[in-house]
Symmetry: C3
Subunit: 340 residues, 3 copies
């Protein structure tokens, strides 16, 4: 059970509630009225808990679980302990994720403006907006209904933030148009100048950065990540993209829908990613490249050429992933010490 100092479960829910929520079918022992108090992993779940089996590696744990109910793929349903109530679905992990969110919805601070917040009188606040202590809201800012701004965060003049967004504490946002249900974790920096200047021995000359940042619906950006605004065009983060901690997104970068960027990865100026591109941890993509839909960029790789849709690359400089594995194998063969 999650530590009650920090979490409070919203249940109980019945098996029928969760079936309705996830589209799963009730099977096995099959008691739709069974009341479930919490979610739990296979090994610690008890009769009042719902669990799940997604990875075949965990079938033995599934066979032994004491959970009251479990999300499971139809092909694995027969491995369940006798009498257990099943929630049968072709994607048990997604279904479990939805159920877990029902038990533990994102906590939303109560509506209202903290007395110590500084809100420009020209700002337009939707219904149910929550602004925490010492937050600073600039001129002409618009906050959609249900949006929450964390303590000590600063929203610059003119920004538009949609509805039901969660802006964490100690965040800075400027020059940004943001969709709905966006989550910015603590310390995120959005909208500052891009790294654009004319190099000159008498002193580099900064180029004014005249674009914005546009963030689609349902985007999440991890702690201390940075997204620079465009130089003239906009920097764009497509709807549903998930960005981890300490990620760098340079000016004019465009991410499509549903992209995933793992921690400490970065994209240089003006590169464009299609939809559902995944970028591994500490990987880098140089500037002015195109990475196609569904491409996968390996961790720590350094992409210096375009990647086709569906492609997978690894290494620095990055090559097709199978070639990278061959590089690794060749080097290993040449240098593995034979013990006598």
């Amino acid at each position: 059970m999650a530590d009650p100092r920090f979490f409070r479960a919203a249940g109980p829910f019945t098996v029928a509630d969760l079936a309705r929520l996830t589209g799963a079918e009730i099977g096995g022992g099959g008691d739709g009225e069974l009341s479930l108090a919490d979610v739990a992993p296979l090994d610690t779940a008890g009769p009042a808990h719902v669990t799940f089996l997604a990875n075949p590696k965990y079938v033995p744990a599934f066979e032994r679980t004491n959970a009251g109910a479990a999300f499971v793929h139809p092909d694995q349903a027969h491995r369940a302990p006798a009498g257990m109530t099943l929630l049968i679905t072709t994607n048990p992990y997604i279904a479990f994720a939805r159920a877990a969110r029902r038990f533990y919805p994102s906590p939303r601070p109560p509506a209202g403006i903290a007395p110590t917040a500084v809100v420009d009188p020209s700002a337009v606040l939707g219904e149910g907006v929550a602004i925490a202590a010492h937050a600073v809201i600039g001129a002409r800012v618009e906050l959609g209904p249900g949006t929450a701004i964390g303590a000590n965060s600063v929203i610059g003049d003119g920004c538009i933030i949609g509805s039901d967004c969660l802006i964490g504490p100690n965040v800075t946002v400027s020059h940004c148009l943001m969709g709905n249900r966006v989550v910015l974790y603590p310390g995120v920096r959005v909208g500052q100048d891009g790294f654009g200047f004319a190099m000159d021995p008498s002193g580099h000359v900064k180029i004014p950065q005249l674009g914005r940042v546009r963030i689609g619906d349902d985007v999440e950006i991890g702690a201390n990540s940075t997204v620079d605004r465009g130089a003239g065009p906009d920097t764009v983060i497509g709807a549903g993209s998930m960005i981890d901690n300490l990620v760098q997104i340079a000016h004019n970068v465009v991410l499509g829908r549903g992209c995933v960027m793992v921690a400490q990865s970065g994209i240089s100026g003006s590169s464009r990613l299609g939809d559902f591109v995944t970028v591994g941890g500490q990987a880098g993509i140089t500037g002015h490249l195109s990475v196609g839909d569904g491409a996968r960029v390996g961790g720590q790789s350094g992409v210096t050429r375009d990647v086709a849709a569906g492609g997978a690359v690894g290494g620095s400089p990055a090559v097709p992933i199978m070639q990278w594995h061959r590089q690794t194998a060749v080097l290993n063969r040449m240098t593995r010490k034979k013990d006598p």
Copy 2:
């Protein structure tokens, strides 16, 4: 045109104004009195806009542009559309950068101290200083004329900050002596302890870090970058250096003038860079090294030996750049799959 929610152009300026500002000569159609309302790229510029041609790749766009005026190199001037007013200069990009800054000067907050800022009575504030909401200014801090401190930033006891600096929101500065016209973007951390300790199985023992950070004039440091103070000597950032986001500068590091560090690069303790060194994104330089004037360090490379002035290195561990290209080529040759 830049989004008026966020930007306001300062013009109009005449062609003659821009010629005076940049040292360009008026040519082509040659109307010095032509009034220009804004800057724009070649493809979207209209008769009231000034544009530029720097990269030969864009000559076709230059031949078709509808701009009223353009900065252009003397060698390319003959490619201009008939009758267009030219601003002829050997460095059109720098000249355009200067013009763009005239149209869009860095916005400076109005002078004054926000009522919610906390300023120690012993702080010395120059004329025109602006201190935003909830900023905290420590004892004996000195802020030069025209310097602005962003919302929720914290300037530690004793720091000296020069004139016309822009310290962004949510910044932390301590143990620092800073020149003029320095820009710190949101979330920058300057002056905290370096990572110095004596390792010991009974518990590492921290070494007091007794140096400072000295930052030269016209330095810019990007969002969420970190600059530790020296351990005894100072950490030094030379005048005019440009540092991108999420960069790490360790204790005792010395950067010369005009250095450029791209996002997510880092320098370990006590390494010294000469003037105009460029360090690519995600590159790392280990400790106690010397990198000479004008050297170039490739993206993601790992420098473990000194680099001579004018040198260029790549790879991890870094080797001379031509050798690194050969390494890459050899590996590719050995592993490229031949399609049947």
Copy 3:
């Protein structure tokens, strides 16, 4: 001498004081009553200073130093200038570190709550707690005696922080149980959601992150580093671990005691490090791995397999360090240009 704008030495101390503090034996000129005003390096030390010799490279500087006293290994004592007072110990660096900390103890802000701090009435504050301007302390937070919270920092509901901790300015902490004497540098983010979601073409589904962060005694975490809370299990930072700037620690990661992570390194979800593991700068460890006690991970390496206790690895993907050196040597041999 450290700049008095920023530092104040706590001395003078006698040689006998320092001998008692460090367990060193007084030798050489041997005046236990000699009064020492400060610490200094070999080359700048004068008669009122204590210095040290740790690295044999500096024996010549040791032979010439004007220091009043020096920590030195018994084997090097005979190289001391005639008449100098010696503090003889088998670990002169540790002893000097302890002495330096006596001269320059971590400055502790005076106890008390700044009038602009916002402290929930249900928070429990130990004796001597210091809360700086604009800090925000959530409901049911517990702060141990002598702990200091920096300006503009935010401590989330329910957190427990031990005694004598130093939480820097602009820090965010949530969902965390922290030991004693922990130091968090500016901009650290602890306790936010881990990067956990079920990927789905119709939109990724975030998994509630229901664990905590547990931080042991004497841990230090560098500026702008990020530590996500666990997904169900906890994220754990073992006692005495030293974490540099811009480091990423993902959900469910476990660090043992005394681990060292250099700047910009990162650990993916659910990996476990033993005690006294060292991770070089910009290195990455992928998820679900085990790295044994005392293992050493080279800078920029990418660990994709378990590392045994005492092992050392380098390269990306990481291999045993000797093999990595052979890889480097082989590549160099194949590509080094012979100058004619």
